[in-house]
């Protein structure tokens, strides 16, 4: 569990982060969203002490992070950034091995871990181990960057706009991969993004920041249906709201008995996908694989705030 208590950072007279407190339960993803200059990156960098807090504390599993030298703390925390930051003079394997090497792991354990991570990120170890970063595609570089951040099995992974440099198609794939890897490893993740869509896709909880202050910290459904201020509402935008809300639930939740024609939709598909399918087919209901149907009426009801909070 990560506890941030009254964290404040002043740059000269400007309050970049102003008395922020929040808790991230173990194994969850917290997304920090806000406009540029909202203090979200500064908040993230205070967690691994790349920025020194002016006041306040960060506790990891009850332990104050200020109690140990910053570089030792950082070796326990994964760190992935925009544009991956891979070392261009080192092979993929050596890049991934950075933190284990700093920790003094034995060589064969490092090699085994590198191969394990490459496999986890769907890169064939034999083919990619010895490549240089610039010989990889953007998506592959980004995966290696995340693999490097996870190499020493950190309990906490910090990500600063990790997908910012990717094109939309690869970005969606990278987000899904991250979600899958995170579920599998149970890593706690704190992720900075300016993209509400990404925050809703990935975040178990979303922290909205504005001018250094934490405006709202809640699960995505609550952020969407009960925004704490106009700023939060503007950040979500009113054009996407119903679709965001639908994207949070699976077809399975709205399954009702009945019969409909056409190709069945998988129960783990999102309601957003089901709606799209209904509209495209011009159908009032879709069959769900494994029995039952989901109706357009039910989808319509689920896209409204009352249903979302219920």
């Amino acid at each position: 569990m990560i506890e941030i208590r009254n964290l404040t950072r002043r740059f000269d007279e400007v309050l970049a982060v102003d008395d922020v407190s929040l808790t991230v339960p173990t194994g969850q993803i917290a997304a920090l969203v806000g406009t540029s200059g909202s203090g979200k990156t500064t908040l993230l960098r205070m967690i691994n002490r790349l920025v020194k807090p002016s006041a306040g504390q960060v506790l990891i599993d009850g332990e104050d992070t200020a109690d140990q030298p910053a570089h030792l703390l950082r070796r326990r925390i994964g760190y992935a950034i925009q544009g991956h930051g891979l070392f261009p003079h080192q092979s993929v394997a050596r890049n991934i091995a950075t933190v284990p090497r700093l920790l003094g792991w034995p060589r064969d354990r490092i090699a085994a871990r590198v191969d394990e991570l490459l496999t986890l990120f769907q890169l064939d170890p034999a083919a990619y181990r010895d490549r240089m970063p610039q010989d990889l595609s953007g998506g592959q570089q980004q995966r290696v960057g995340v693999a490097r951040a996870l190499a020493a099995r950190p309990d906490l992974l910090l990500m600063d706009e990790p997908f910012g440099a990717l094109d939309p198609v690869i970005r969606a794939q990278a987000q899904e991969d991250l979600r899958a890897v995170q579920r599998r490893l149970g890593t706690t993740v704190i992720l900075v993004t300016h993209d509400m869509d990404e925050a809703i896709r990935l975040g178990d909880r979303i922290a909205v920041m504005d001018q250094g202050r934490l405006v709202q910290y809640a699960p995505p459904a609550e952020i969407l249906t009960a925004p704490a201020s106009d700023f939060v509402r503007d950040l979500i935008g009113d054009k996407q709201r119903p679709f965001y809300l639908l994207s949070l639930s699976q077809v399975d939740a709205l399954r009702s008995p009945g019969h409909a024609s056409g190709a069945p939709i998988p129960p783990e598909a999102s309601l957003r996908d089901a709606l799209a399918e209904c509209l495209w087919r011009g159908a009032e209901a879709l069959p769900v694989a494994g029995g039952g149907i989901v109706t357009l009426a039910a989808l319509r009801a689920a896209a409204r705030p009352e249903a979302g909070t219920a």
Binding site: R75, G83, G85, H89, M132, G145
Partner: protein, 381 residues
């Protein structure tokens, strides 16, 4: 045939043909008197054959395959050197110790044309690094073999060399010590200074300005400033003279070369460090490297090509400038150059100048190759 030459080929051919027409050697009754020039075809019984062969090479070279354009000029240089040696042997009257046969305009121009052709062909072929090292090593070994074989022993410069072999070796050592010593000192001081200035904008300006001013002091003036300065220190501060500090000799020469070397080292260190991608630095710190680890594992390796470029600049510059050390008793090949100038003995000047040029060329090419190798490391093995 000439119409088919490309522009550089035409230039090389013109230089080479001019070289063949001009005197290959100067014959002088002794080392000071003016002499008479003899072209290749006049100096040697088989001179016509070689002249024709070289002329053909100059004219058809651009149409030959690239590998031949590397091999043939190399062979041409060897032939030219052997012709020079043979001419000297033939022209020296039996038992005459005074006569001097020295290379003349024709030799230098033909040699220049061959070198240009070689350099041009290498640039076009863009051979892999290993082949480049091989060509460099082959050229050094070839020229060394010709010198060692005694084929050039009757040439004036070699006569000067034979007369002062021991001194030559001593001055060669002194020259290398000055060049490499100043490089080592400049690296030892300049690298840490560059690292220190990196990220300290306020200090950087004044320090670089000071180094820039040092760089603009003409080398003769710099050596001149050293004499009274260190002379005074040696005379005034107790123990300074015992520590090797003196107004003349190797010490002020070394200091002057060191000062000239400082700007390239510091400036390139700064440029190299600035070229390190910001994201890599951020990641290095964020993953838990200490400052020293970031410097050694990330910054310096990434700055290496630019640092090697600085080493190249400094080494070539120091090898050249070290000649002036001869003027203040600092030793090195400059000793021969200035003695030769005083005695108007051009052969002696050449004895100092030729090894200096050769040394600078080899150092420059070798470090170019090292720089290439360090850049290449970053792409796939």
């Amino acid at each position: 045939m000439i119409a088919r030459l490309d522009r550089p080929g035409l230039l090389f051919a013109l230089i080479g043909l001019a070289g063949l027409a001009l005197p290959l050697v100067q014959f002088r009754p002794n080392r000071i008197l003016p002499g008479e020039g003899l072209a290749l075809h006049q100096a040697l019984p088989w001179g016509w054959a070689l002249t024709a062969a070289l002329a053909a090479l100059f004219l058809v070279a651009p149409r030959l395959p690239l590998r031949a354009r590397i091999a043939l000029p190399l062979a041409g240089v060897l032939g030219l050197m052997l012709a020079l040696g043979a001419a000297a042997a033939v022209l020296t009257p039996e038992g005459d110790r005074m006569a001097r046969i020295s290379p003349s305009t024709g030799f230098w121009l033909a040699g220049l044309a061959l070198s240009l052709m070689l350099a041009d062909a290498i640039a076009r072929l863009n051979p892999p690094l290993r082949l480049r090292w091989l060509i460099l090593g082959g050229a050094i070994a070839g020229i060394g073999a010709v010198l060692a074989s005694g084929a050039l022993d009757q040439v004036s410069v070699m006569r000067e060399y034979q007369a002062r072999q021991a001194v030559f070796l001593r001055e060669a050592r002194a020259h290398l010590a000055l060049a490499f010593g100043s490089l080592a000192l400049a690296l030892a001081a300049g690298l840490p200074l560059g690292v220190l200035l990196h990220g300290r904008m306020r200090m950087r300006g004044p320090v670089l300005s000071a180094l820039n001013i040092l760089q603009t002091i003409p080398s003769l003036a710099m050596f001149g400033i050293m004499i009274p300065l260190f002379g005074w220190i040696a005379a005034t501060i107790p123990g300074a003279a015992q520590a090797g500090i003196s107004g003349i000799g190797p010490f002020p020469a070394l200091v002057a070369l060191f000062l000239y070397a400082l700007l390239p080292v510091v400036a390139n260190t700064l440029a190299g460090l600035a070229s390190v991608p910001q994201a890599a630095l951020e990641a290095a710190r964020g993953l838990g490297m200490t400052r020293a680890q970031v410097l050694v594992q990330v910054m310096l390796p990434l700055a290496l090509p630019v640092l090697l470029a600085a080493v190249r600049i400094v080494l070539v510059q120091s090898i050249g400038l070290a000649v002036i050390a001869g003027l203040i008793g600092g030793g090195g090949f400059g000793t021969f150059v200035f003695q030769g100038l005083n005695q108007t003995a051009m052969d002696m000047v050449l004895l100092g100048a030729l090894p200096t040029i050769a040394l600078a060329l080899v150092a420059g090419i070798a470090l170019d190759l090292l720089t290439r190798a360090s850049r290449r490391e970053r792409t796939a093995p």
